[in-house]
């Protein structure tokens, strides 16, 4: 198929960006979206132009590196990561807009690459269990009810891609933060740090400049791993409980 691509080009964090238009030909429906961009980049290199920079690594939908807004949707029209989106989702002759994540807490590094280190700092604020190596009790010492284990797992599936932030009209990171809070807070291993975890992570989230949550629900719609909107409700309950218990905010 033949496509027209309108791609956000921005030399670096300080430069101004703009959309540039490229035509690509001979695109197979079996190609992944990123393989289509590879094809464009091979042509750009041979022409002596700067290829389009984009983050990608595993191309299996699990590392969370890829991060494109395609025709206005984070990760494009299907509920998947950009790397698992295939060209069969598009029609011959389509014009496709490709932009980076848009959020003030995710500054552009170059072209379609953004800086998501704010997510790492949210985890550093409390998204862990303090369990130094070697200190662990026998794994079967504490059974975990299967529903709790399943709930923890469903939240732990978050790949940290940032689509939730990109899709949110407020640029909020509530879905990301709530996924980790819920994952660890429901488990007995996470219980001792239950209050500090949610308070510290939410405080860090605010400090990073993410927007507030108005429960628009766009995050859960964009999430390639299906983290549900109710996760946010879960975190709000944890946060309320923690503020009451600790008197902290």
């Amino acid at each position: 198929m033949k496509l027209t691509l309108r791609v956000w080009r921005q030399q670096n964090a300080d430069a101004d960006g703009a959309m540039s238009t490229y035509d690509v030909d001979d695109i197979s429906a079996d190609m992944s979206f990123l393989e289509m961009l590879d094809t464009l980049n091979e042509e750009l290199i041979l022409r002596g132009d700067d290829p389009v920079a984009f983050d990608h690594d595993c191309r299996e939908g699990i590392c969370g590196a890829c991060s494109l807004v395609i025709n206005g949707d984070a990760h494009g029209p299907e509920r998947t990561t950009t790397c698992q989106l295939h060209m069969r989702s598009f029609e011959d002759g389509d014009t496709i807009d490709i932009e980076p994540w848009r959020a003030s807490a995710f500054p552009v590094v170059k072209d379609l690459v953004v800086d998501r280190s704010a997510f790492d700092r949210i985890i550093q604020a409390g998204g862990y269990v303090t369990a130094p190596t070697g200190a662990a009790p026998e794994a079967h010492a504490t059974p975990v009810p299967k529903p709790d284990a399943d709930f923890a797992f469903e939240n732990a599936e978050c790949i940290g891609c940032g689509a939730c932030v990109a899709a949110c009209p407020n640029g909020a990171a509530m879905l990301f933060t709530s996924a980790k809070v819920n994952h660890l807070n429901v488990l007995p291993q996470g219980a001792p740090e239950r209050e500090t975890r949610v308070l510290d992570m939410v405080a860090q989230m605010d400090e990073e400049g993410f927007g507030g949550c108005t429960l628009a629900g766009e995050c859960a719609t964009a999430c390639p791993k299906g983290i549900p909107l109710v996760s946010i409700t879960g975190m709000n309950k944890e946060w309320l409980r923690a503020t009451r218990k600790s008197g902290r905010r």
């Binding site: 992944s32 290829p51 983050d55 690594d57 595993c58 790492d120 190596t133």
Partner: protein, 665 residues
């Protein structure tokens, strides 16, 4: 085979490289003696310790943040060391360990099915086709039980039974149920556990994390590893980092093949540059081809996707009995199907080890019975499993894998059998390390897939996660103490700095290399060279290898290398975010490593595990080892680009598991 006719007429360059010499044997001086089950205790007791108050004065560099690196960085920091850690990704959470699906082995014997540390040890030595060290493998089996405890304590959400206890399953080539899993995302969950432990240390200031920073060379001063040269991938700035010890946890080198299940940016530069600086490279030809990957669709293919071989627990593999049968799978009646693994290996059936399953798939495709585009695929059929367990149970167990398959192929595996084909997946070879996981460069350690230590010639399923975490959480943090205690850091020790002549030379090397890549301004892209090399390696150094094929590859590689430096085109500059430059620089190293892999494969004139030499097979087509000549690990010493390396043999001794020809029939 026609193109092999002219191989006797091989080029001078290839002949020169292939004329390797044999040097003194390499000896593991750290391996303790005594009963195998006491050796790890013995070593830990004999190893010197560093006074806790002195640890913060020691800096340890860790390159990579996968299971091995993430676990090591977190644990060393918990012990009090100052850790400086690097990853090329934008976050330490994205290392490719995250893509491991199936599970992690541990000899917990929770099923009361006859498992034990000794059985895991035995299975791993046998599965590795008697090319791994008994001491290392036994230690791995012992530590496996602690890993599960550690991960559960971190909040890793393993699958559980209704009673709240951990669930296990049997996995690739073993008959006990010892594999712990988190749906099809075990690697992700274990990695996030390590990442979270690391994050805690980053917040505490004990780990200095450099994301989007790639190691480009090793600094060796007075025979000891003292630091690295690394490039900030955002600004392009090349910097030096100094330490008392350097740990490489940079993963394997499967991307030599261009198409593999590795992440796109996984690369061999850290280990190859360390090899060039003196670290021996062991068993480079031991690469694993994974049997259950999604077949390629065309030239544009950028990588291959693996599906957990846990699928082989319930899926049945078959091809049509007749050649060229192109009816849709569902229209081929039962008696016209060949469930070839069940037929050839009735005891293990679809659960034979990876190398055997892969080669069998290649054989039936070579016979013209393959399915799908180009006949490069076999069916993996769940119709029986769905009939037996119900669709819901199959969904529960494999749902995410089925979804992934459907997304990539646009086919519904609940109604149409999956198509699978083998792909390069894991590299058992890597930097040679002793029992302490130290390379031949003092102060340089290699852990996880980056070393060669535990899997011999073939890795069993669910053992990579086990080894990465064993090395990172438990082995390295114990053994590195011994090195640091014997090489104490003196305060105000700034003998190594940017002015040091060795550092200046290493820096100049790196800068020159990048400058040259940018200066060639030829007419071929980095990917075009990578693809060409990969196709060559897949054909001649892939699932089945022959002397003429390997010689042909050894002749071609220097020619590709020469053409690379004449025709490579890298746009942009070195002082910016430049993904083409990153790629091209990695290919420089693949073009040398590939040559060593082929030479290693050529010199190892036997078949074992993942290394199958067509000249060495049993009458029924199985790998035939030649123990009298090849019961050793081949550790190669670098001399110069394209020049004959030196082979150092480490003899392997089997006191507990006696070599037998593997039989899974």
């Amino acid at each position: 085979m026609d193109e092999m006719a002219d191989i006797t007429d091989m080029g001078d360059i290839a002949a020169e490289f292939a004329a390797y010499t044999t040097g003194a044997p390499v000896v593991d001086t750290k391996a303790p003696g005594g009963p195998v089950n006491e050796r790890w205790d013995t070593r830990r007791f004999e190893a010197k310790l560093v006074n806790p108050a002195n640890r913060r004065k020691h800096t340890v560099i860790v390159v990579g943040t996968g299971l091995a690196g993430g676990a090591a960085g977190a644990t060393l920091a918990e012990q009090g060391y100052h850790v400086v850690q690097f990853c090329y990704q934008d976050s330490p959470r994205r290392a490719h360990s995250i893509a491991a699906q199936g599970g992690i082995n541990a000899a917990k014997n929770y099923r009361n099915d006859g498992d034990s540390v000794h059985r895991l040890f035995y299975d791993t030595v046998k599965g590795g086709d008697f090319r791994a060290r008994e001491s290392n493998v036994h230690r791995l089996a012992q530590i496996s039980v602690e890993i599960i405890d550690q991960c559960v304590a971190q909040g890793v959400p393993f699958a559980r039974e209704y009673g709240g206890l951990l669930d296990t399953r049997s996995f690739g080539g073993v008959q006990v149920s010892r594999t712990f899993y988190a749906r099809g995302q075990t690697g992700q969950q274990l990695l996030l556990g390590a990442y979270q432990a690391l994050s805690r240390q980053i917040a505490a200031g004990t780990v200095e994390m450099h994301a989007r920073t790639e190691m480009l060379d090793l600094i060796v001063v007075d025979g000891r590893a003292r630091g690295i040269v690394a490039r900030d991938l955002v600004t392009g700035k090349i910097d030096t980092y100094y330490a008392d010890a350097v740990v490489l946890a940079s993963g394997g080198y499967g991307n030599v093949f261009y198409l593999s299940t590795n992440a796109m940016n996984s690369n061999a530069t850290a280990i190859w540059r360390a090899h060039r600086r003196g670290a021996y490279f062991a068993n480079p030809c031991f690469t694993q081809i994974h049997p259950t990957c999604i077949p390629r669709t065309g030239e544009h293919q950028s990588k291959l996707t693996l599906m957990s071989e846990s699928l082989r627990n319930d899926g049945r593999i078959w091809v049509p009995k007749a050649k060229g049968d192109d009816r849709p799978a569902n229209e081929i009646p039962e008696d016209e199907r060949d469930y070839y693994l069940e037929r050839i290996y009735p005891a293990f059936g679809n659960l034979v080890p990876r190398d055997i399953a892969s080669r069998a798939a290649k054989n039936v495709c070579d016979e013209g019975r393959g399915v799908g585009p180009g006949g490069q695929g076999v069916y993996l059929d769940f119709a029986d499993a769905i009939g037996r367990m119900g669709r819901k149970a199959v969904e529960e167990k494999y749902g995410n894998l089925f979804d992934m398959y459907a997304r990539i192929t646009a086919e519904d595996p609940y109604t149409v059998p999956m198509r699978i084909y083998p792909a390069v997946h894991y590299t058992m070879g890597g930097l040679w390390v002793d029992y302490d996981l130290q390379t031949t460069v003092p102060g340089l350690f290699a852990i996880g897939e980056a070393n060669f230590s535990d899997h011999g010639a073939n890795r069993l399923g669910a053992s990579a996660l086990m080894q990465g975490l064993a090395d990172g959480y438990f082995v390295l943090p114990s053994t590195i103490n011994d090195y640091l205690a014997r090489n104490p850091h003196r305060s105000g020790d700034d003998d190594v700095n940017d002015e040091h002549p060795v550092v200046q030379e290493v820096l100049a090397d790196t800068e020159d290399r990048l400058r040259l890549l940018l200066a060639v301004d030829g007419d071929r892209t980095p990917d075009s060279f990578h693809r060409e090399l990969g196709e060559l390696m897949w054909e001649f150094c892939g699932m089945a290898r022959t002397e003429p094929g390997l010689r042909k590859a050894l002749e071609r590689i220097p020619q590709i290398r020469e053409e690379f430096w004449r025709r490579i085109k890298v746009p942009g500059t070195g002082e910016e975010f430049n993904q083409s430059l990153e790629k091209a620089n990695r290919i420089v190293d693949y073009l040398e490593l590939a040559e060593l892999m082929c030479l290693d494969a050529l010199h190892r004139d036997e078949s074992c595990g993942g290394h199958f030499r067509e000249e060495s097979q049993t009458p029924d087509g199985e790998a035939a080892r030649r123990d009298e000549e090849f019961t050793y690990a081949a550790a190669w010493e670098f001399t110069d680009t394209g020049e004959a390396p030196v082979l150092h043999k480490e003899d392997l001794v089997f006191e507990y598991v006696h070599p037998t020809q593997r039989s899974y029939a």
